[in-house]
Symmetry: C2
Subunit: 356 residues, 2 copies
């Protein structure tokens, strides 16, 4: 009985990632030992780290002059670590929701924070546009995809200051021009690996400008200088990430992944725009996330909301309950979700409509 | 062909932990989904976190008034986080090696640090004794086991200030009187779980005294207030930790584990004290670690050191090369190492002696 996993994160990973990781938990690289119990300094695991970083660079077309780091602590720790390393006096932030707000809160411990625009007036159901970013800030911080509200920024902002982005929930879902960013960070638990791994891509030349004495573990330079293994890394999560990266490469890379994601999201959004019982939360089509499709009952159908969750359960549609701050439903359609699952959701939406 | 895994960390874990984790990577708790891809807020994973914390409390006899946290970042991040949360003005540290020195370095970013004693004069091959801890420090920090040099502190220091301990490499190897400590932290990758999980046991009443505004993720109170899931936790590592805790409990708890560890270490140390080719690095028997047994060639046999590594490889003895700062060999004998592996090492030591 196949489950359709729409969880927002941790979320669906490729079968390949699961199978290969399970095998390596028992026997890693023919060592007769588990990937959980081999030295991270050994040749076999060093090869995993090297290949993981090389594939990240290849798949994302990371230019020269950038370092790729495999850290711990999640985007939540990056909310503080990023300003600690990059904020000299002040930084600009785009407030697109809870995660952006959390990032701003930590940055305020380090320096001055300017909120250049906010979508709070409409519960973050759109991406602000037409804002001005002051030319004298150290960086401009964006959250490219907003899991809770289902909005996404599909183009890199055209600004004259360095860009910093939290790409936790859409990295590896489509091509990105890394060269436009001084820093990108992402919790791995959406399109890459199990939770417990944090990807950081940082422009080397952006570092060392604050004059601050940084705690060793919160200094990107520490991790760059130690080949991302200053301390013991989360080996299993890195091993799983490598499998996902191989899967992406074998599919044909991010252009192919993007087409798959566009197709999946279209199936669902088209049905939401048509269905008489449900509607998408985000009205502007250009702001609609390809990763998290938030929807609610249309007017007059609010009373039967719980009935749809019950139907979803019967149809093996998992993780559809919306975030408490938005309500309704959220279908997360990360890379590994097959289009069959998107279709299964559409079938349930149609079935519900037919019965009401 | 059985491998004898003497790696210093990541290190050998119970077969039970490996098998159960591999199963859950494919199908977790009968959900049909992987433990890598289910929501950490779901009932099934919440049950894992609850049981993990409950078993930690039970196995270590954690008293009331303490919180158990499952964090990320390793002991290396705790080196900074501990003083940030506890150091008001000054703290005392016992310098028993590289890890203690690293802890002191980070604490100096926060306040005054007093090194009450150091074993540096003899390359940390003993545990300092007879030192005085000033009565006016905020805490006294120790590293209970020193993986690199093979020393261990088997009794809780009798001091009149709060104790803080890095127990990364000997927690769960024997009973500890938690009530003597304000804070214990431990990277999980020795006796508990794969790397990527950090255990923190903190006395609630010790917190909130510094007057500092702490970064959210570096504040123990954040994690206490959010049931150790302020942000997405390292789910696979926590699941694996739970399996190891079940294994410890099923064996009979830490008294039984301690007896097993004493027996294993005795087999090896006795042979090192007898063998004409090898000797233990730590001369004082009361300071000898039960977790990491460091040894070198005796005088006159230095030239054939490489030959023993070759023999070890032939006999499937893995991870015996000593840390570069000590040289020679290191046999890590963590909980999950069977006594047969200790005996296999002794057999190789004897075989080498017979051939030289």
């Amino acid at each position: 009985m196949k489950k359709h996993n729409f969880s927002a994160g941790p979320s669906i990973l490729p079968e390949f990632t699961k199978e290969e990781t399970a095998k390596a938990i028992i026997d890693f690289a023919g060592t007769g030992l588990s990937v959980m119990e081999v030295s991270h300094r050994g040749a076999e695991f060093q090869a995993v780290v090297d290949e993981t970083i090389q594939l990240i660079k290849e798949i994302l077309s990371v230019p020269e002059g950038y370092s790729v780091l495999l850290l711990q602590g999640g985007a939540s720790l990056q909310f503080y670590m990023a300003p600690l390393n990059l904020l000299v006096k002040k930084a600009a932030y785009l407030n697109t929701g809870v995660w952006a707000s959390k990032a701003m809160k930590e940055a305020k411990l380090v320096g001055e924070v300017i909120e250049v625009a906010s979508s709070k007036d409409k519960n973050h159901t759109y991406v602000p546009k037409g804002y001005e970013v002051p030319a004298d800030v150290d960086y401009f911080h964006i959250t490219t995809n907003n899991t809770i509200y289902g909005t996404e920024m599909f183009s890199d902002p055209e600004v004259c200051v360095p860009l910093v982005a939290d790409m936790s929930s859409d990295i590896f879902s489509r091509p990105v021009d890394i060269s436009k960013y001084d820093l990108i960070y992402a919790g791995a638990q959406k399109n890459l690996a199990p939770a417990g791994l944090t990807l950081v891509i940082v422009k080397d030349a952006a570092l060392g400008k604050t004059g601050r004495t940084l705690p060793t573990m919160l200094n990107y330079q520490t991790h760059i200088d130690n080949g991302t293994m200053f301390n013991t890394p989360p080996c299993v999560a890195i091993y799983a990430a490598l499998q996902t990266l191989k899967w992406i490469k074998n599919l044909g890379g991010l252009e192919v992944i993007q087409k798959m994601n566009v197709a999946k999201a279209k199936v669902i959004y088209d049905e939401l725009d048509r269905n008489k019982c449900f509607k998408a939360v985000v009205p502007n089509k250009e702001d609609r996330s390809l990763m998290n499709i938030c929807f609610v009952m249309r007017e007059g159908y609010e009373a039967v909301e719980a009935d749809f969750l019950a139907l979803a359960k019967q149809r093996n549609l998992i993780g559809l309950k919306g975030h408490r701050s938005v309500g309704g439903f959220r279908a997360s359609t990360y890379n590994a979700l097959p289009i069959e699952s998107a279709q299964a959701l559409v079938d349930a939406l149609k079935e519900f409509e037919a019965n009401h």
